[in-house]
């Protein structure tokens, strides 16, 4: 078995590439093609599948469908922005302020919610935020409030849950761009008379932009595709688009509609990301690297 000769190399190469291709085709490409085809099918009165655009048109015809999507997207954008606002100082502190040793310990702490899984953290928030939960109990014991605050089952608790599970995915890419930021850039700006705020706005944020954008894409995708947090923490009006897809598949048993919704979610969220990239002047290749 010689790996050096040309033929041997090719055999090794194919041995390595074939499982990858099989994986991609069988587990990713084929199911998508199947779903894509079924998204263009409806059942006629005789119970036969016929070609139709109805599944897609239903999305635009039924107000509730696209309203739900708009709401889901708006919240996803909001959560993405919040995730940035909250995590950027954290990422900056971890890369530029604290020592390397502290930073790696703190990053480990940040990872803990990922270890236990989303379901557990969601229940954790229920315990914290409920009418008789820890936060209300604490505030009432201190005499700050005399009636429990309505925290759980609100948009607030949903946003908290979504933020909690997605924040880390903003921290990591932002940290990796900030790590390459030469401290002397900050000093140079300060030397040229820039205030702390100006340094953040003109130097640090533009520098971290590729990381911010790739973090934002991940967070946005995670949030728009999440199911648990809106469903459990979200309260009575928190219809999420994924929930609608789930309902189409499992409640109405209308798989064709569900498939069409799935593709609409994919296309519309990709469209939003494309728009965001255009507006921020970033290129996908750069962000992805």
């Amino acid at each position: 078995m010689s790996v050096e000769n040309k033929k041997g190399f090719n055999v090794t190469f194919y041995l390595l590439i074939v499982p990858v291709l099989l994986w991609l085709v069988i587990l990713i490409v084929l199911p998508h093609i199947d779903l894509f085809i079924s998204s263009f099918q409806v059942e006629n009165d005789a119970g036969e599948k016929v070609f139709s655009f109805d599944n897609y048109l239903a999305f635009f015809r039924q107000k509730i469908y696209w309203l739900t999507f708009v709401k889901t997207a708006a919240y996803a954008i909001g959560v993405t922005i919040l995730a940035f606002v909250i995590t950027f100082p954290i990422a900056f502190y971890l890369t530029k302020v604290t020592s390397k040793k502290n930073a790696s310990f703190l990053v480990l702490l940040l990872l803990i919610p990922l270890w236990v899984g989303e379901l557990v953290t969601v229940y954790g928030w229920m315990v914290l935020l409920g009418d008789h939960g820890i936060i209300n109990h604490f505030l009432m014991t201190l005499g700050i409030i005399d009636k429990p605050l309505n925290l759980l089952y609100t948009n607030l608790s949903m946003v908290i849950g979504l933020l909690y599970m997605s924040m880390l995915f903003m921290v990591v890419p932002v940290m990796s761009t900030l790590e390459s930021l030469d401290d002397s850039l900050i000093e140079a700006a300060s030397d040229l008379g820039a205030s702390k705020f100006t340094i953040f706005r003109r130097i640090i944020i533009p520098y971290a932009m590729p990381g911010i954008v790739s973090g934002a894409i991940i967070v946005f995708m995670l949030v728009i595709g999440d199911y648990l947090a809106p469903n459990i923490l979200g309260g009575k009006s928190s219809l999420w688009f994924t929930e609608q897809i789930y309902n189409e598949f499992l409640q109405t048993f209308n798989w064709n509609e569900g498939a069409a919704f799935g593709f609409l979610l994919l296309m519309l969220s990709s469209g939003i990301i494309w728009l965001a990239l255009k507006l921020s002047g970033q290129k996908l290749e750069k962000v992805g690297s």
Binding site: D182, S184, L185, E187, A188, A189, S190, D191, L192, G193, A194, S195, T198, R202, I203, P206, Y207, M209
Partner: protein, 349 residues
């Protein structure tokens, strides 16, 4: 001329470690002042204290009569050119240069005028809209200097700005910097570990070693009359000999070479510059000591060619500069020649 900068008894401690120990110096207005030292000698710490990024543990830094105690970097009348240049990669050339002026809330036309003027002065007309990442090393250098100079600082601090350039370009930029400084008249404080840079450009050089200043002097004096053994060894090339004994009139090296020199005390080392040695001295006056050496090998290096020799009747090796003229063309390995040296050029410490 007035002193623009006064550094008084400045020390800086990091924990127990003293990076800068009781340093005193003044810089005259319009001067080109270099701080020369090997890495870790404390020169960058000193510069960062002047810029305001570090605070002195003891002492005071005074610029134009005003103490800089408690004044943050953005408020000090000094600007710094960083070793890494620290150009803002997300901005083009003119935005980089305009950055500081914008912070002063100047009008747009005024900013544009000053930016163009400065770019002209450093020879970067037509590069306004180029990305800084598209520039060559020398051009980036000039942008960094322009960005600081456009602020019209009282003092421009330069932290080994030529360190990242290749040798050819460095030689060229040395001259260019010196001319630029002469032309605009701003006071430069220049930090380097490269003695050639310091010697070529500076009006005054401070040699720094282990947090202390060894000597502050003009380049010529520094070279001709080093005050300490460190300076003698650090600035320029020297033959170094450990001394075994001395009696006030004669020096004896450990390898047994004896040479006459009136001196005081009990020196430990003797420094002789290769170019201070005279081949075949025509006269041997009172001050000229002569002796014979045998050529071991010729180290040809153009204008820097040297003879590696052994002093006769001893084991001491001695490097001698060899002028590249017709007179010495026929020298060969194994030849014995007469060498002379002026007593003043025998530096012992």
């Amino acid at each position: 001329m007035a002193n623009i900068l006064e550094v008084k008894n400045v020390s800086k401690y990091f924990g127990d470690f003293a990076a800068v120990k009781d340093v005193n110096f003044v810089v005259e207005e319009g001067g080109f002042f270099s701080i020369l030292g090997s890495s870790g000698c404390g020169k960058t710490t000193l510069l960062r204290m002047i810029a305001g990024f570090l605070h002195e543990t003891e002492g005071d830094i005074i610029i134009r009569g005003n103490s800089m105690k408690g004044i943050p970097p953005e408020k000090r009348p000094v600007n710094i050119v960083f070793q890494t240049l620290a150009l803002f990669p997300m901005m083009d050339v003119k935005e980089n240069v305009a950055f500081g002026l914008q912070r002063q809330k100047l009008g747009k036309p005024e900013i544009q005028k000053r930016v163009n003027e400065m770019l002209g002065r450093v020879g970067l007309e037509g590069f306004e809209d180029k990305k800084v990442t598209e520039l060559s090393g020398g051009q980036r250098q000039r942008v960094a200097i322009a960005r600081s100079l456009v602020m019209k600082p009282e003092i421009l601090l330069l932290d080994e700005p030529l360190g990242a350039l290749d040798r050819k370009l460095r030689e060229h930029m040395k001259v260019e910097l010196k001319l630029l400084q002469k032309e605009i008249g701003t006071t430069f404080i220049y930090i380097t570990h490269d003695q050639s840079e310091a010697l070529v450009m500076s009006d005054k050089i401070a040699v720094m070693h282990q947090g202390k200043f060894e000597q502050i002097d003009t380049p010529r004096n520094l070279y001709k009359n080093p005050k300490t053994a460190f300076v003698a060894g650090f600035v320029g090339d020297s033959n170094r000999f450990e001394l075994a004994q001395s009696d006030g009139k004669q020096l004896v090296t450990k390898a047994g070479w004896k040479i006459n020199k009136i001196h005081e005390g009990n020196p430990d080392v003797l420094y002789i510059r290769p170019e201070a040695l005279i081949l075949n001295p025509s006269s041997s006056g009172d001050a000229i000591e002569t002796f014979s050496v045998t050529i071991k090998t010729i180290l040809f290096d153009g204008s820097n060619t040297k003879l590696s020799t052994v002093v006769d009747d001893s084991d001491e090796e001695l490097l001698i500069s060899l002028p590249q003229n017709a007179e010495f063309e026929n020298l060969q390995e194994g030849d014995t020649i007469q060498v002379g040296i002026h007593q003043d050029d025998l530096k012992c410490y």
